[in-house]
């Protein structure tokens, strides 16, 4: 590149701006985590201080673990999220393969039909979804949530995956056909391994809204046995509003798994977003 004159001043200002915004983004999370480990007095007297031996306390966590069934909530969230993602990836990849690989009449129309859901939120059908779930006896089951989230995740998954599948070389697939592989074997053994990076992107995009959703758990599965973490935390905090230790600890418990997963997968997630998967 032509030696662009690097102005130190400009770089300095950019760093300053980015550091300030980073602080704004992280400060509330930091504040919650730090204060959840302090005694009630310390929370109010010195909210900004790091816990010291004299102010350290786990009383909030004790309340949370005793009063709320957070382990159960985690389990529910985990089951719902993992099963939904698995179904979205499997069904989405199959449909994307059919749309990108074969020419048949109605292909374009089918593609458009399946893409409708990218823009139209599934929430608008809630009134009838609840009716249907009541009729099917699925209210207060995790199955209801899995079904809804699978339907919700499919449109974007199909869209992204079919873009990627178009880039898989035809020669490879035809070579497979000449070797006598069935269409199913071509899909599962040749194409799927090649689109793995795109699958990872889709998995992350699907996961975040499911894990964080409050609307459907609130409406379809508010029972104690099927509460997800988001709903559980919401209700717990509603009850313990004046117990600051408990509230901060509940928030920290809800943040931690997301934060840990993010630290592990951030590279993949960001590469997925910036690789132009969503254009």
């Amino acid at each position: 590149m032509a030696t662009a004159r690097t102005s130190y001043l400009r770089t300095g200002l950019i760093h300053l701006a980015l550091i300030s915004y980073t602080l704004i983004a992280l400060f509330p999370v930091f504040l919650t985590l730090v204060n959840s480990f302090k005694t009630r007095n310390a929370i109010f007297r010195e909210p900004m201080a790091i816990p010291t031996p004299s102010t350290f306390s786990l009383v909030g966590y004790e309340t949370v673990l005793k009063q709320g069934d957070f382990i159960g909530y985690f389990q529910n969230s985990l089951i719902v999220t993992v099963v939904s993602i698995a179904l979205v990836l499997l069904f989405g990849a199959m449909a994307a393969f059919a749309l990108s690989e074969y020419r048949f009449r109605g292909n374009l129309l089918m593609g458009l039909y399946l893409a409708l859901g990218i823009m139209i939120p599934i929430r608008l059908g809630t009134v009838a979804i609840l009716q249907g779930m009541v009729a099917a006896g699925l209210v207060n089951t995790l199955t209801a949530l899995v079904l809804v989230y699978t339907a919700q995740g499919l449109p974007l998954a199909i869209f992204i995956l079919s873009e990627f599948m178009r880039t898989v070389s035809d020669d490879l697939k035809n070579a497979g056909r000449i070797d006598g592989l069935s269409e199913y074997a071509i899909f599962f053994r040749l194409v799927l391994p090649l689109v793995r990076p795109a699958m990872a992107t889709v998995a992350v995009f699907t996961m975040i809204p499911i894990w964080n959703d409050l609307w459907f758990p609130l409406i379809l599965a508010p029972g104690e046995a099927t509460k997800t973490v988001t709903l559980g935390a919401q209700m717990f905090i509603g009850q313990f509003v004046t117990n600051w230790n408990a509230v901060l600890s509940a928030l920290s418990l809800a943040i931690l798994p997301v934060l840990v997963l993010y630290v592990i997968f951030s590279r993949q997630l960001i590469r997925g977003i910036t690789s132009g998967a969503v254009k």
Binding site: M1, A2, I14, L18, Y21, T22, A25, L26, V29, I43, P47, M48, L87, F91, G92, M94, A95, A98, L99, F104, R105, G106, M110, G117, M119, I120, R123, L124, G125, T126, V127, A128, I129, Q131, G132, L147, A151, Q152, L154, P155, Y184, F187, N212, D213, L214, T230, A233, I237, W244, V247, L251, A254, I255, L259, Y262, S266, I270, I273, T274, G276
Partner: protein, 316 residues
């Protein structure tokens, strides 16, 4: 689905066996999607034309809509919610997207150190659920805890502090800004990706012509990322017009104080399920959902058929 076995025009004369695998590949996604998403959506639209009369569900045409738009009690909350929702959207467009673009532009400066760190950190709030975000900010802005007034005191602004979430003039703006804080990561990432996709040759050519720094951003980069700006705008629109969780968490189902933060999502929830002394009303819920559907549909169509068509896409 019945015409799947007909191949394209050029191969049509050769009668091929029915290609069952296409059906097998498409069926699961098609069935789940149709059964859980499309049919309930259609059913909801249909329900908006029915209502209970003497305990029987009867077709009432557009009566539900006229009630929603003009009934003294209901229409007041509806127009209030719609107006608030518009303000909610405008604040996102004016704050979230420009800040996102500015952050992306700074991050994409070549050879910037720690860029990965900044990017990773700024994206953290986007991953958190509304429940967490809502409560954290509720605590921070709470006058009881005193974090916000304490910090404003450092910069000599203590007099400007007010319990923003509790005042009806400022509650909506505050909630919108919390939502902006959470979601700024999305425009940032999408614009960042678009900026990285601009080929070096284009930028080098600009530099040869003496266009650098600010003017390079305005004259070269911005026009090239316009399609991405269009996409984040429509994503923001759809997201804002079916928002619910954050307001429910921060201000409760009544979206107080005095309904000043009520948007269509919370209105739908209250109308459909009922709240306190108000009975749940399925038909009216469906009517509000239909109105939301039409608003979103209008926005998406405007984007697809007007804005996106006029926008020039540059192929590299």
């Amino acid at each position: 689905m019945s015409d799947i076995n007909t191949a394209d025009p050029e191969t049509a004369p050769i009668k091929r066996p029915f290609r069952w695998h296409i059906l097998v590949f498409l069926a699961p996604a098609f069935l789940v999607y149709t059964a859980i998403m499309i049919l309930p959506l259609i059913e909801t639209l249909r329900l908006s034309l029915y209502n209970l009369v003497d305990g029987q569900t009867v077709f009432v045409g557009l009566t539900n809509f006229t009630t929603l738009f003009s009934d003294p009690r209901l229409s007041a909350s509806f127009w209030n919610a719609l107006g608030n929702n518009l303000i909610f959207f405008v604040i996102h467009m004016l704050v979230q997207n420009p800040v996102g673009i500015a952050l992306a532009a700074m991050l994409s400066v070549s050879k910037l150190r720690f860029a990965t760190f900044y990017r990773t950190a700024i994206f953290v709030p986007t991953l958190l659920s509304f429940v967490i975000v809502g409560f954290i900010w509720k605590l921070i802005l709470s006058p009881i805890w005193g974090i916000a007034p304490g910090m404003m005191d450092w910069v000599g602004l203590k007099w400007a502090f007010a319990p923003w979430l509790g005042k009806s003039e400022s509650a909506l703006i505050t909630v919108s800004l919390i939502s902006v804080w959470q979601y700024v990561g999305i425009p940032m990432m999408l614009i960042y990706a678009a900026l990285l996709n601009i080929p070096d040759e284009v930028l080098e050519a600009a530099e040869c012509d003496g266009i650098t720094g600010w003017s390079q951003f305005w004259k070269i980069k911005l026009p090239l990322i316009l399609p991405s700006i269009g996409i984040i705008s429509i994503l923001t629109f759809v997201g804002n017009f079916n928002a619910f969780d954050l307001i429910y968490t921060v201000q409760g189902a009544l979206a107080g104080p005095d309904g000043s933060t009520d948007i269509l999502g919370t209105l739908l929830y209250r109308t459909f399920f009922g709240f306190q002394n108000q009975m749940g009303d399925r038909s009216m819920g469906a009517t509000i959902a239909t109105v939301m559907f039409l608003i979103i549909l209008a926005g998406v169509s405007l984007y697809l058929f007007v804005i996106q068509r006029r926008m020039r896409r540059y192929q590299f």
